[in-house]
């Protein structure tokens, strides 16, 4: 049990930070629902950071550390599915961005407008579907990700994957790692606000009513982070479902509280909080949501009735 980063992990994250220092990671100047970081996407793809779990001597945990770090950025970039999910399902390196979908193929999926491949959970199996750009229609949404849906589902170029459990497990890990980064930045944004914004002669953050809820939010974020990292380390069904379920079930309260503390300002697109909370809200509904993850965690831990 060691919470300290290994030399390799520290070196990878230092390298990532160096790379991020060379690109624009300030919050968007224009009020937008989200900003897809196409330049960063390309830089990441070329640098090999998203292929780390495919490298000898590295693991999904190294990928999760990267995903958590990237999720703290105001910009969105598809990293979690590429770095954590795709390597376990035989998707070739470089075939990305990767979109994920469960349920009907006509549902909207994150990153579909720019994805090369769609990994779909079809219940008893999975599909890797080649995405043709002209077969995707963009979906307008408050969720702070690019969303799209397939225009037609006939005649798709697809490969069957029998191991749907691996898709779900890695998806849960990816989701939890991404949520952890989003929570960290959302809380940082609000901390800065409540430390400077004055009301009744003192900073908002001096009021105990706010302090207690922020302390609970901090516990949520820290728990999500370590549960996600443990799940990435063990790559086990139960740890993955626990991590994803925890993040999903805590999102509503966390998002509500953080928006509350910035008042009406938090309802504007100018205030950057939504860039993370609306990613969290999107993640909270994936794979059937927190209640389904809770059931999955229970079944993975204790087995079924038999």
């Amino acid at each position: 049990m060691k919470y300290e980063l290994t030399d390799d992990q520290a070196s990878v994250l230092a390298g990532l930070d160096q790379l991020l220092a060379g690109v624009d990671t300030d919050p968007p100047i224009e009020p937008v629902v989200f900003e897809y970081a196409a330049a960063l996407d390309q830089t990441l793809a070329e640098s090999g950071f998203l292929d780390i779990a495919r490298e000898e001597g590295f693991s999904p945990l190294d990928a999760a550390l990267i995903v958590e770090r990237l999720a703290r950025l105001p910009q969105v970039v598809e990293a979690a599915a590429s770095a954590i999910v795709a390597p376990a399902l035989g998707v070739p390196a470089g075939t990305r961005p990767v979109a994920l979908l469960s349920g009907p193929l006509t549902k909207a999926a994150r990153y579909l407008p720019m994805a090369q491949v769609l990994l779909a959970d079809r219940g008893d199996h999975a599909l890797a579907i080649k995405v043709e750009p002209d077969n995707v229609e963009t979906v307008e949404t408050l969720f702070a990700y690019p969303y799209g849906r397939l225009k037609r589902v006939e005649g798709l170029e697809q490969t069957r994957i029998d191991d749907v459990a691996t898709l779900r497990r890695r998806w849960r890990i990816a989701l939890a790692a991404e949520a952890a980064g989003c929570m960290a930045s959302a809380i940082d944004t609000i901390l800065e606000h409540v430390k400077t914004r004055q009301a009744f002669g003192q900073p908002l953050g001096a009021f105990q009513a706010i302090q207690h809820r922020l302390a609970m939010a901090a516990e949520t974020a820290e728990s999500t982070k370590y549960l996600a990292f443990r799940a990435a380390w063990s790559d086990s069904e139960s740890d993955a479902a626990i991590a994803a379920g925890f993040a999903q079930t805590r999102t509503a309260q966390l998002a509500y509280d953080l928006h509350q503390f910035a008042g009406a300002m938090s309802l504007t697109l100018e205030f950057p909080l939504h860039l993370w909370t609306y990613r969290l809200r999107a993640l909270a509904g994936e794979l059937g949501g927190g209640s389904q993850q809770a059931r999955a965690a229970a079944l993975a831990t204790w087995g079924d009735a038999a």
Partner: protein, 387 residues
């Protein structure tokens, strides 16, 4: 970063489980029903702790010069997890091992070490913690019990409340205030720590009937109790530093989430046996409680990791303590909803868990204090103006 156990740690855990399986009596669930402070459990601890001592498992965390093994932090923590999960067969003696001994080693005189450490090492000593008072609970600095200097020592007058284990304790780790009229300083600086013999004339202990079992809540009255200067721990004015050392030593606290997790495991086994486990609602709610236990575990392990690496304590302990309280109560909520019969005499261990869970957010300082500390020290939020 990695989250596995070493072969040594796994062997250590297996050894403790084996010892518990061999040692705990058949009626252990009944013995432990009323909690670590009960007469039955205190008496059993006086048998059990010497067995642990023989195995080198009573004070392994202590330095060799004081009879310990200089055991790594994680091995000591695993011991604590297994003991608490089993219902704490060490009774109230776990306190001696975790912090009373270490604090004496740091601040005690040679005479105090000679008198107090051997009975702790032998598993024959019970301490109580004379901190809270009717007007000073989590706000310790407000305590009013007086320690008036007299020839050769102090005369103590006042009362303590909520004191665990006081009815059977040999010694009290007592906080009292030197009155201003007798030269005591204002506020925290006026507090002294007196290692008070509970058989001293003038001490009266009254157990308060409680929801959380026997022996956990007492009132202790001090009526002109003489405590010799040789029983004062540290210098006058040093008490607050020592209390902080105690709290730092207790930064991990007890492994409550482990008892909760095992209680949940047993509950699922029972629900399966009763044919109720295929209900999706039961599965979902069990999964939610499981997530809380594992979250608390990960945060507590983060603190143990810091201790193992000899990092200075930080405010993360308060973050973790909140998670532990939430986990205890989450499991309790699940049990009460789906297995209420456990509180109707059918499951002593469930009742024991329930009684620990309802105290989780109150014992060792209110959970809201942990939220305050998280806000101020972890999140660096400003203090509220007095209005």
């Amino acid at each position: 970063m990695e989250f596995g156990w070493s072969a040594e740690e796994e062997a250590h855990r297996a050894r403790i489980r084996d010892l518990l399986a061999r040692t705990l009596p058949a009626d252990w669930e009944q013995i432990s029903l009323h909690g670590p402070g009960s007469d039955a459990q205190t008496a059993y601890a006086r048998q059990f702790c010497p067995v642990l001592a023989e195995e080198g498992l009573l004070v392994p965390n202590w330095p060799k010069e004081h009879g310990g093994e200089d055991a790594p932090v994680w091995l000591q923590f695993i011991l604590g997890e297994e003991m608490w999960a089993a219902g704490e067969p060490r009774g109230g003696q776990y306190m001696n091992i975790n912090w009373v001994g270490p604090v004496l080693m740091r601040y005690g005189t040679p005479d105090q070490l000679e008198r107090h450490l051997p009975p702790i090492r032998a598993g024959q000593s019970l301490w109580c913690q004379g901190f809270s008072e009717p007007g000073a609970g989590s706000d310790l600095a407000a305590l009013r019990t007086t320690a008036t200097p007299v020839e050769g020592g102090y005369k103590v007058s006042g009362s303590k409340v909520w004191t665990s284990y006081a009815g059977l304790a040999d010694t009290c780790f007592l906080l009292a205030r030197v009155p201003a009229a007798a030269g005591g300083a204002e506020g925290k600086a006026g507090i002294v720590i007196l290692l008070t013999d509970m058989k001293s004339p003038g001490i009266q202990v009254k157990q308060i009937p409680a929801l959380i079992g026997e022996g956990d809540i007492h009132e202790v009255f001090f009526d002109d109790v003489f405590v010799p200067t040789t029983d004062r721990l540290g210098a006058e004015g040093q008490a607050w530093e020592i209390i902080n050392y105690v709290l730092q030593h207790e930064r991990v606290g007890i492994a409550r989430y482990e008892f909760s997790r095992r209680t949940l495991d047993r509950a699922v086994a029972k629900l399966k046996a009763e044919g109720r486990w295929d209900d999706p609602i039961v599965q979902e709610k069990a999964g939610r409680a499981l997530m809380l236990c594992e979250a608390a575990r990960m945060l507590v392990y983060r603190i143990v990791d810091g201790k193992a690496r000899d990092l200075p304590p930080d405010a993360f302990g308060s973050v973790a303590r909140w998670a532990v309280v939430v986990a205890d109560n989450g499991v309790n909520e699940f049990m009460t909803e789906f297995l209420p019969e456990g509180l109707l005499g059918e499951d002593p261990m469930q009742q024991a868990h329930h009684q620990r869970a309802i105290a989780a957010g109150i014992a060792s300082g209110a959970a809201e204090i942990q939220l305050n500390l998280t806000a101020r020290r972890w999140l660096q939020l400003p203090g509220e103006k007095r209005r």
